[in-house]
């Protein structure tokens, strides 16, 4: 196992630099902010198009506000902001690696032996 670049190494503690880098990459790829950004962009586009395709249906129940247009635009902006945030402040590497290296400690804690107390 230790020679491979398994993104989810089973042994904490003795990791190669390569394994650590792979783990960091795979963690950041699934950052919640990216998922939220994608979801909001997709929803924003769907809602915006719905509003553009049938403007009459958009304003009829709302009493004049083109709510699909406004909501669509707002959701696209929010989605983009999630991506900007993710790019500007990625999860610190030491946080990601720290989780891996604490595995033994975590196991002990799970077994009810509280470390350090």
């Amino acid at each position: 196992m230790s020679e491979s670049t398994n993104p989810n190494p089973q042994q904490g503690g003795k990791l190669t630099e390569e394994e650590k880098a792979a783990y960091v990459r795979s963690t950041r790829r699934f950052d919640l902010r990216r998922i939220l950004g994608a979801l909001f962009l997709l929803y924003g586009i769907i809602v915006l198009i719905t509003g553009l395709v049938d403007p009459a249906a958009d304003t009829k129940p709302t009493g004049g506000i083109a709510i699909n247009l406004w909501t669509g635009i707002a959701m696209i902006i929010v989605g983009a902001l999630f991506w900007v945030w993710d790019l500007a402040a990625p999860v610190p590497e030491e946080d990601i690696i720290g989780v891996l290296e604490r595995e033994e400690e975590e196991r002990a804690e799970g077994e009810g032996h509280i470390p350090g107390i």
Binding site: L39, V47, E111
Partner: protein, 558 residues
């Protein structure tokens, strides 16, 4: 006849666009479950996300775990029924309680490395009160999960036309899959997603609703004319001896009962909530969890309670009419039906469905933790390897969901039991809070005192509630009864706790370090990382701003 009834209900006409959005959302939910599954290596990963979450995620999950069906529909119903007084639940209740949790209680919880709230009971007081606490929490939580499930099924049936049994099985199935896969991480990620989606649905609803009733001035005029001006104020008519406000309680009962006892009890001792903070990556993030949650909580009433008022202004006559088939709980679904076109409609419905499911998932993910760590590991199978507890956790999740489904079908048989059960369960938090507060402040408090005062604190409000059922004239409203019941419970615990402590033997002070105020020290900064020291991340500053905002937001509605 039937067609007319359907139109006046809350049935929505979803188009394929709306269904696409719903399907995409739940595909992402399951995807997150599988993704989180890859990261679950230990039982701590499964139950507490390996204590690795950043504060913004745990903070939003903290506020979102509470944003389930009962909260969104219930608080909008309150808005429609009792008006702006509903703000008390947020501004005198939830937010001060969150600040108290972050500033005062979290250092004891997180610093003692306990894995659940019952475990804190064990460390501070010992086995007897721990068993009572763990079992009461596990049983009540799995029942609440079932009640949430049933509440959700009724709404899904009314909105989408699915039969109740199908709604129950499908929703429970989703929760089962993603919690069994990814444990608490799945639950937390979905809570954060749900938070943003429900907001993206409720903001347009509020804007359109206000527009349709003629803006803020149109709303206040309509409410004053139909329900009366008292609906627009919060503290008017709360004088002692002359209570004319819609809650039916004076200001002291509101501050002490609703604010101090019920809300502090719920937000600081309910493990379903506190668990989110336990999963934070360090002490600083754990303390900031409820403080970050306080800020969205301050503004949620404006997209939940205000729509309630809008609904009262628009269709209040139908809520009051028993034959209309519409109840106050339908306020938000009714507005969605009337005001949102396909497109935004899909976002709003997705948000509602997600919030219903997240509420149940929060119950299940805290139930499995307490059952595995506090009951199974402590009293049934000790000293097994960690992987054993991880496996038990997954099985308990499955069993918990199945019991929840069974409870949901039971609740369906006895509808009116539901509200009473919610009331009853809220009493479990009040005595627990009293025991913890006394135990945290007073090192002399003994195990015997904790056990017996806790039991008496559960029995006392139950007796008050039964008395109210027998003689409804005792209190002005059901809400007033819960406020006084909570105060009685709190006082019972404090009085009995002090008395019994004086006639029984306290734990030696050496065992109380870090568990009682002033005994030993808790290092609040030792696991800090560089970014935790930024001035705007200071817990004291965040807490102060939140409390100031509580006062400021009351001002327009005094």
């Amino acid at each position: 006849m039937f067609a007319a009834a359907a139109e006046s209900g809350i049935r929505l006409s979803l188009s394929w666009v709306d269904y696409v959005m719903i399907i995409v959302y739940f595909a992402v939910v399951i995807g997150i479950g599988f993704m989180a599954r890859l990261r679950v290596r230990t039982s701590m990963d499964f139950f507490l996300s390996g204590r690795s979450m950043p504060a913004w995620i745990t903070g939003l999950a903290f506020v979102s775990a509470n944003l389930g069906a009962t909260e969104i529909l219930g608080m909008a119903a309150n808005g429609a029924q009792i008006g702006m007084s509903t703000l008390h639940y947020y501004l005198i209740g939830a937010v001060p309680a969150m600040v108290f949790l972050g500033l005062v209680m979290m250092p004891f919880y997180y610093g003692s490395k306990v894995r659940s709230v019952p475990e804190f009971m064990l460390r501070r007081f010992g086995k007897a009160p721990h068993i009572v606490n763990a079992i009461a929490f596990a049983v009540s939580n799995v029942l609440i999960a079932g009640i949430n499930l049933y509440a959700m099924a009724i709404v899904i049936e009314a909105m989408l036309g699915w039969p109740e049994w199908l709604a129950i099985i499908v929703s429970a199935g989703f929760v089962l899959v993603y919690i069994t896969l990814g444990g608490l991480s799945s639950a937390i990620y979905n809570e954060v997603m749900q938070f943003f989606v429900i907001i993206a649905g409720l903001i347009p609803l509020t804007i359109v609703g206000l527009h349709r009733v003629g803006g803020w001035s149109g709303l206040t005029t309509a409410i004053s004319k139909t329900q009366g001006a008292q609906q627009l104020s919060t503290w008017a008519g709360t004088a002692i001896g002359h209570t004319t406000n819609p809650i039916g309680a004076n200001w002291l009962a509101i501050v002490l009962g609703l604010g101090f006892v019920l809300s502090f009890g719920y937000w600081t001792t309910n493990f379903t909530e506190v668990q989110r903070a336990f999963s934070a990556k360090n002490m600083s993030a754990a303390r900031r969890t409820p403080l970050i949650a306080a800020f969205p909580k301050l503004f949620i009433p404006f997209i939940v309670v205000i729509p309630g008022l809008i609904a009262a202004a628009a269709v209040g006559n139908q809520f009051a009419d028993k034959n209309s088939g519409l109840t106050y709980n339908d306020a938000i679904p009714k507005l969605i039906q009337m005001y949102l076109p396909n497109g935004v409609l899909g976002v709003a419905v997705t948000g509602l469905l997600a919030s219903f499911m997240a509420g149940m998932a929060a119950n299940v993910s805290s139930f499995n933790t307490v059952f595995t760590y506090d009951i199974w590991q402590r009293y049934i199978k000790r000293d097994k390897p960690d992987v054993h507890y991880l496996r038990v956790g997954r099985w308990v999740t499955i069993i918990g969901v199945l019991i929840g489904i069974a409870t949901a079908f039971l609740a369906a048989q006895a509808q009116n039991i539901m509200t009473y059960m919610q009331t009853l369960f809220s009493f479990f938090n009040a005595p627990l809070f009293a025991v913890f507060i006394l135990g945290l402040l007073w090192k002399r408090m003994t195990t015997q005192a904790a056990l017996w005062s806790y039991l008496a604190g559960i029995a006392a409000p139950t007796a008050v509630w039964i008395a109210y059922l027998v003689n409804p004239k005792l209190f002005a409203t059901g809400t007033a009864e819960t406020l006084y019941g909570a105060i009685i419970s709190f006082v019972t615990v404090i009085v009995l706790g002090v008395l019994i402590s004086f006639v029984s033997k306290p734990k030696p002070v050496s065992e109380l370090s870090g568990l009682v105020y002033g005994v030993g020290t808790i290092d609040l900064t030792k696991d800090n990382v560089a970014t935790d020291t930024a001035w705007y991340r200071s817990p004291a500053l965040l807490g102060t701003i939140a409390l100031v905002l509580c006062v400021v937001l009351y001002l327009p509605f005094v």
